[in-house]
């Protein structure tokens, strides 16, 4: 026999899920953990492009997100360039391929964009 305490926990949890689903259905957006992390992170969002040995900072973050999104994968990998740290390597394959490097702040920003979901 299930105790009353268990029923309360299950029902409260289900109620919470139902509220979230209802809010989502009517597109009432709650601040997400990703957004909170992005806002709390005081680091500057950074994007860089690597082609062969050439490594250059790209200041257009939205376009960078689009190009990174078009790659096959974004791996976690640390690269230091111009005394700045990059944490994600977005690329398609190995060898002579273009790499888009983002730091965590930029990557979180990209993940929140409408082109990134799915």
């Amino acid at each position: 026999m299930v105790s009353m305490r268990v029923w309360v926990i299950v029902n409260v949890s289900l109620g919470f899920v139902a509220i979230l689903l209802l809010l989502n259905l009517f597109e009432i957006r709650l601040p997400s953990l990703g957004k909170a992390q992005y806002l709390l992170d005081k680091e500057e969002p950074l994007c860089a492009v690597q082609w062969k040995e050439d490594f250059n900072i790209w200041n257009d973050l939205d376009q960078c997100c689009l190009q990174a999104r078009q790659q096959f994968t974004c791996d976690t990998s640390v690269q230091i360039f111009a005394l700045k740290r990059f944490d994600k390597d977005c690329h398609t394959g190995q060898g002579n391929v273009i790499h888009y490097w983002l730091n965590n702040k930029a990557y979180r920003y990209c993940q929140q964009q409408v082109i990134w979901k799915g």
Binding site: W7, V17, N56, F72, V97, Q113, V114
Partner: protein, 366 residues
């Protein structure tokens, strides 16, 4: 024991609440899934096509606007994009060749009007890098090599079922990638690009000269989303050359706010009617907007609805909108349709764009 007593004994308040919540979660979950997949969107009616001839007047305004939109062709939105009958799908990098073929087949199957299927195989950007090698534009020095590259890339794209490529990049002074544009000055770039276009389009793949009016490959102010660039004669030269000397079928317009040789009158180029209009005077092919979900464009408007109207009003024939939410894409189509009905966008302009699109897809339009 009566039936009522039986229910009261078997179902406590907690159990009843549990039952109610489970049903609510299931219904809401289903509705959320249906909405996310675009299953709640209205299905636009079928096209009337007889012997490859389309009567433009037989299309609803929504169908015309939808044909002007290219979306990201994620298979999770397959039903939504097919129902909305959007003009095209753009594909990102996939793991295997077969995945491209399967995805394109799924999208195109049974469509009266096929989708444009586009990719960014340009410069050193290669979505097929896991299984197809393509020489970067910066390593091409002769017109023969440019032609060969165009033919090879075109044959490969055609084989996969891709009919629109956003290449070549003809912007000068590539300071960031150093591999996206052909080498040399504006004249070298133009001649090599024309040769590449000839090769690509010879394989039935539409080429796109981008990004008009130039200066997208240079470093911009890191603290500005609205980027202003000064365009000089050399930036425009490749476009003037290609419009006259090649049969390039499409041109892509950027979001930069430009002044100098070409002016966007303080707006992002893609929403500048005077800038897009001046391209239309010189070029009869397709004018394609750069992807519209960019802060450089969005920040210029108070609402996204204003932005949607501005992008179409400026005269772009095809609008790249890679928003993954089909409901939002449908919202854009509705907003623009209403703007046409209210006279904010000339209906004749929409008709002209749709005519160009359908002709490029191989139809005869009446």
């Amino acid at each position: 024991m009566t039936h009522k007593n039986f229910i009261q004994k078997r179902w406590t308040v907690h159990q009843r609440v549990f039952f109610f919540l489970i049903i609510a979660v299931l219904i809401l979950g289903t509705l959320n899934t249906a909405k996310a997949r675009g299953w709640l969107l209205p299905e636009l009616r079928s096209w009337a096509v007889t012997k490859n001839v389309i009567q433009l007047d037989s299309l609803t305004l929504e169908q015309k606007i939808a044909q002007m939109v290219i979306v990201h062709g994620g298979v999770w939105n397959l039903d939504a994009w097919r129902n909305l009958q959007v003009g095209g799908i753009h594909l990102f990098a996939l793991e295997k060749e077969k995945l491209y073929v399967d995805t394109i087949t799924q999208f195109q199957q049974g469509m009266t009007i096929p989708f444009f299927v586009s990719v960014d195989l340009e410069g050193c950007q290669n979505p097929f890098a896991l299984f197809y090698n393509s020489t970067s534009a910066s390593d091409i020095f002769t017109v023969e090599d440019a032609l060969m590259k165009g033919e090879r890339d075109g044959a490969y794209l055609n084989q996969l079922g891709i009919n629109l490529n956003y290449a070549p990049v003809v912007d000068l002074g590539d300071e960031i990638w150093r591999c996206r544009s052909f080498p040399g000055n504006e004249k070298n770039v133009s001649v090599l690009a024309a040769s590449y276009i000839k090769g690509l389009q010879g394989e039935q793949v539409i080429a796109t000269a981008k990004h008009y009016p130039g200066k997208t490959l240079v470093v911009h102010d890191p603290h500005k989303n609205l980027v202003v660039a000064s365009i000089d004669r050399s930036d425009i030269y490749p476009y003037s050359y290609l419009f006259q000397e090649s049969n390039v079928s499409a041109v892509m317009v950027s979001h930069l706010i430009v002044s100098g040789e070409v002016s966007s009158e303080g707006k992002p180029s893609v929403v500048s009617s005077s800038l897009v209009g001046s391209v239309k005077e010189k070029f009869k092919g397709l004018i394609i907007s750069d992807e519209i979900n960019m802060l450089g464009l969005k920040n210029f408007y108070k609402t996204k609805e204003e932005m949607y109207i501005a992008v179409f009003k400026a005269g772009n024939d095809l609008v790249l909108d890679f928003n993954e939410d089909p409901n939002e894409v449908y919202h854009m189509i509705s907003v623009v349709s209403d703007a046409v009905r209210l006279g904010l966008i000339p209906a004749a302009q929409i008709d002209l764009s749709v005519r160009k699109i359908l002709t490029a897809k191989g139809f005869s339009v009446q």
